[in-house]
Symmetry: C2
Subunit: 319 residues, 2 copies
């Protein structure tokens, strides 16, 4: 559920008066999303999204995210475009939070990933990477490899209660991943969280890429590895290599992968599985009973990690 901060009707009306968006028509909380509070805002000029940034997003990063979205939208990437107020500022304050209005994107996110989704996704990801090249400011990946040992340490007390021997197993795997972590691969701005609920489809085409609040400057191929984890595993945790092949080929057709990137795919996929495993494990252990958020099972990513640890090269992913 994604409304943590309730905004009064008067406060919204006053906030909206700072924009040239017409009068308010409707204002409803959106159930999707877990990090921020999102509202569907309809005005006399159309549909918009109002986001209130909650504590997990560092306020100093917000201009970087919003300007990246603006940069990408100008280059025809279908991402939310920040809407400035009359004074030209997109980032404002509402109900004690940083807040921004962005454009509304049509489409429906795939609750169940099918093969037809994977090639459009790969293509869109490559186009996203290319479109971000001239955006100069960088943001280091706060949830990248350097953060994983600390995340694992934070979950070590209590982690074995989730699964016997889990923490030791993760320590071994993490040491192996970090020792093999590639250097020198092409890097730039990545989405870093392009799960199915962040991708809208309309009539078989991608109509929206949303939720850029984990975006960072990191290895492009790591972004592919995140998508392989998120889009190409079945509910029994088997890797669907038809899906991964479609995703990889479509990506490669837009931004050809180097030999070093192909070779690094298994360890990048291990790392991506580790990243989601560690944050889910942390949340699993630290979400209070009665919280509004549904905890996601970390073990789903342990199952994926096993697959990637067995992968010898890119052929494991259907190539």
């Amino acid at each position: 559920m994604a409304v943590y901060t309730e905004v009064s009707d008067e406060a919204v009306a006053e906030f909206l008066s700072e924009y040239e968006l017409g009068g308010i028509v409707a204002f409803r909380g959106i159930a999707e999303g877990v990090e921020n509070s999102n509202y569907a805002l309809k005005t006399t000029t159309g549909d918009y999204i109002l986001t209130l940034y909650e504590r997990r997003v560092a306020p100093e990063d917000l201009p970087w995210f919003l300007e990246l979205m603006e940069h990408l939208a100008e280059r025809a990437i279908p991402c939310p475009r920040p809407v400035p107020g009359r004074d030209g500022a997109s980032l404002r304050r509402l109900a004690g939070r940083h807040a921004a209005i962005t454009t509304f994107l049509p489409g429906v996110w795939p609750r169940r990933v099918r093969l037809v989704h994977c090639a459009p996704l790969g293509e869109a990801l490559a186009m996203l990477h290319l479109a971000g090249r001239e955006y100069a400011p960088e943001r280091s990946n706060a949830l990248g490899p350097a953060a994983w040992p600390k995340l694992l340490a934070a979950s070590s007390p209590g982690g074995d209660a989730v699964r016997t021997g889990l923490i030791g197993e993760l320590r071994t795997a993490l040491a192996r991943i970090l020792a093999a972590w590639p250097t020198g691969l092409p890097r730039g701005h990545i989405h870093a969280d392009l799960f199915p609920d962040n991708v809208f489809f309309l009539e078989g085409k991608i109509s929206g890429l949303i939720d850029f609040y984990f975006a960072a400057t990191d290895l492009y191929a790591y972004d592919i590895a995140v998508c392989l984890n998120a889009w190409c595993f079945e509910t029994d945790f088997s890797c669907n290599v038809t899906k991964s092949r479609a995703l990889l080929r479509a990506y490669d057709a837009v931004r050809p992968l180097s030999a070093a990137e192909w070779a690094a795919l298994p360890v990048l996929c291990q790392g991506a599985a580790m990243r989601f495993l560690l944050t889910r494990l942390y949340d699993w252990l630290n979400t209070p009973d009665g919280a509004l958020v549904t905890r996601k099972d970390p073990i789903e990513y342990l199952r994926r990690l096993y697959f990637h640890l067995e992968a010898r090269d890119e052929h494991a992913y259907g190539l």
Copy 2:
């Protein structure tokens, strides 16, 4: 949070193909509401609401609710109007649930009730009561006075842990309420749950009355009593008699209250406070830890009940 049942994109597309509503443009879960799963559905012909009925709504009651909404909408009450499929049926099945599409209503519900909301609310409630008169089928109020002793008994084990002596106090109050419960007052179809989050305002006027899934055939003045509880108390649980006077006078101007209805206001308000106290208490004791629903504090209605038990006549409400 109000998405308990996830609907796949393919299932929605197939469901929509049974309607003459055009193609799907967007489909997002709505955060508001606690009983059913609600989705904002945008198609090439406009905005709609898709509701999946969850376990608290008895399937056999659904035609009564939907036909009441249709009846009221035909008489210019701004309530959601069921949209029939090509075969003429509004009530269908989706994702293992009963489901219906209704029209989208503009407006924003007041997060903080102000005096300006109360007269329009009273007027709209009276118009709702008058508009329902020719709707012949009846539905007994499953959460009316006859249900309260059972509800109290269901919360008796554990209830005193919420507040020392609570169950004994409620037993005494309930006996007094039931002994004084009026007979012979005007009755008809009532909303029975017209809280601020079920009422949309647009430019100072009421633009939507929603969520008819507690509607029933019962005393009209009991519906007023529900509204007095829900709209006219401040956060310190004091009754704002300026608000209650505005609500009552506006109602009375549309459907004049009889002397017997005026006289019964205190006990009806006691009963309405008891009804929400008892269901909140039951939910408080029976909502599992980690559930998606925020539990509402039952004691807020005990504070209101105290006020109503002290009320000698309608003058306590500002008349």
